[in-house]
């Protein structure tokens, strides 16, 4: 990958609590987000994906390590730079039902970020901008703008959330499981929309998911997390087609695949092996091996 990343995490660690009971939610995490590219962060619940997202959002401060925004450490930012960061990095949440205020219209939800973050948009242009945002996410402005969240379906609400993020004119979007609460038939529509936005607006997209098949659908790069570490990362096709880390292999073998029947004894996962891989992968793995150009794996 060439060019300076928009946002980069450099050996970032986050520990909750102290002493023997401390939880190492993120251990020496490094990744970078580039304009017009998507990085998928995949792993099971508790692996540290959301902790990484929250650090990227500056909701958590890292225990150790640096977060770089266009090459500059964000800890060193002054008030104006911090405000710029808040505008430039936007988030889309998992639950489209909980992330919109039930007491306000959709138009209100989209006006707020415009008033807050977009001094370049004149007061007289705000209504037109709201309409344009809704059109961008393929919703009919006349129909949707005056409505309240409860009048919309889950997929429509998630589109509103995307529009709300876009209203701030972001450079990076962090999407934490944006489709896991949606019906299967509307998931692809939302993912397609995210991909289009990423390309058209040259956004850096951090796509967090436990669904590795959608990761391949959306992202160019992938990072597989387990127990707070990124155990394998690189080009999405290379990692999924020729996984090198035992945990990635385990994860891939468990993805529902209609070509594989449970009755087939050769595909049976042995609980002892699963336990073993989990225990091994949870240990600190300091060695980084380049299996292939743009494909890396950690080892003990």
């Amino acid at each position: 990958m060439t060019g300076q990343p928009i946002l980069a995490l450099d050996r970032v660690t986050k520990t909750f609590g102290h002493g023997p009971g401390a939880v190492h939610a993120a251990r020496s995490i490094s990744f970078s987000l580039h304009a017009g590219r998507a990085l998928a962060l995949v792993g099971e619940s508790g692996s540290g994906k959301t902790t990484c997202a929250r650090m990227a959002m500056r909701e958590y401060l890292p225990t150790d390590g640096k977060i770089l925004f266009k090459g500059k450490a964000v800890e060193a930012a002054n008030a104006a730079e911090a405000a710029h960061y808040r505008r430039a990095v936007q988030m889309i949440f998992q639950d489209p039902f909980a992330s919109l205020n039930p007491a306000h219209t959709i138009a209100y939800h989209l006006k707020r970020p415009l008033l807050l973050h977009r001094p370049d948009v004149k007061r007289s242009e705000i209504d037109a901008t709201v309409r344009a945002l809704l059109q961008q996410v393929k919703l009919d402005p006349d129909l949707v703008a005056p409505k309240y969240p409860h009048e919309l379906s889950g997929g429509q609400r998630q589109r509103v959330n995307i529009a709300r993020a876009l209203a701030a004119k972001p450079e990076v979007i962090v999407a934490d499981e944006p489709t896991s609460m949606l019906d299967v038939s509307v998931r692809l529509g939302v993912l397609n929309l995210l991909s289009e936005m990423k390309q058209e607006m040259k956004l850096g997209l951090l796509y967090i998911t436990h669904d590795i098949a959608t990761a391949r659908y959306v992202a160019e790069d992938i990072a597989v997390m387990y127990a707070g570490q990124i155990v394998e990362w690189g080009n999405v096709g290379k990692v999924i087609d020729s996984p090198a880390h035992p945990y990635t292999k385990l994860l891939l073998s468990a993805v529902p695949d209609p070509d594989v029947r449970f009755d087939d004894p050769s595909v049976r996962l042995r609980p002892e092996d699963v336990e073993d891989i989990r225990r091994q992968s949870a240990m600190t793995q300091d060695r980084i091996v380049e299996v292939d150009p743009d494909h890396f794996v950690r080892a003990a």
Partner: protein, 267 residues
């Protein structure tokens, strides 16, 4: 073909509203053979959980099961059972596992006690007998029997779900209804649990009514599958046929909405 274990005929269920009724299940008929895994797939709101509730007789008003409906289990109409018969029927003949079943364990009782409650009520077992049965059931789901003295919070989500499954199987039911039993869990844990259930149904011989929206998973696990759309069963066939040669447009549409691990979508 052997006589079906479960036979659902012309099942129609309405939710009674103030102005108009909502037809959640519309004239659905299907059979499940002994030892078979039958899947019901569809999106939220299509009526699949409403069917599961009807089979266990869990519906309360405003749900109304229309008169022409019959649900036969071993030839007996479930919809005609009185209160006492219903108590015997639930758990002993039909057990249920829900999506958030792991949260249905009582947090202040040891696992052992929760097994004992079931075994005493339904089988009149003594403490010692119940303990033996509990150990046996925990082993079946790959949990060390000495952990029966622990409380639910000391187990992971996947282990709690396995404990609920073990409690369900403790009375040797003929049919286990599983409504999105692993949706809240990670894929590896999901695979471990379903693989185990598959082995157990082969050895113990119970049938499963498996409900999920994940078609790929369903084809891996089920013998036959029914596809539901807006309360109707639009297609019903073997798992191989639903995957290899789906007939209904909606089935094709569902397949097209799953991205494949190998790039593109599944169909």
């Amino acid at each position: 073909m052997t006589a079906p274990l479960l036979s659902v005929k012309n099942l129609t269920i309405d939710y009674i509203g103030e102005e108009k009724d909502f037809r959640a299940v519309d004239n659905v008929s299907f059979d499940v053979a002994p030892g078979e895994v039958f899947g019901l797939a569809g999106e939220s709101g299509c009526g699949k959980s409403t069917i599961a509730f009807a089979i266990s007789r869990l519906h309360k008003p405003p749900a109304l099961i229309r008169r022409e409906s019959t649900i036969l289990l071993n030839g007996r109409d479930v919809l005609d059972l009185d209160d006492k018969a219903l108590r015997d029927f639930r758990w002993r003949e039909v057990a249920m596992v829900f999506q958030s079943a792991m949260n249905s364990l009582n947090p202040v009782l040891r696992i052992e006690q929760q097994f004992y409650d079931v075994l005493k009520t339904h089988k009149g077992m003594s403490r010692a007998q119940a303990r033996d049965r509990t150990a046996e059931m925990l082993k079946l789901v790959d949990i060390a029997p000495d952990r029966m003295r622990d409380y639910p919070h000391q187990f992971s989500g996947g282990m709690r779900q396995r404990i609920v499954i073990a409690i369900c199987l403790a009375l040797d039911p003929r049919l286990v209804v599983m409504d999105e039993p692993t949706t809240a869990l990670d894929v590896v844990v999901q695979r471990e649990i379903l693989q185990r259930i598959n082995e157990l149904r082969r050895s113990l011989g119970f049938a499963v009514l498996f409900i999920t929206h994940d078609l790929g998973l369903m084809v891996q696990f089920c013998d036959r599958i029914g596809i539901m759309l807006a309360g109707k069963l639009v297609e019903q066939n073997t798992a191989e046929a639903i995957y290899g040669s789906p007939e209904h447009d909606y089935t094709k549409q569902l397949w097209a909405s799953f991205p494949s691990l190998h790039g593109g979508v599944l169909l």
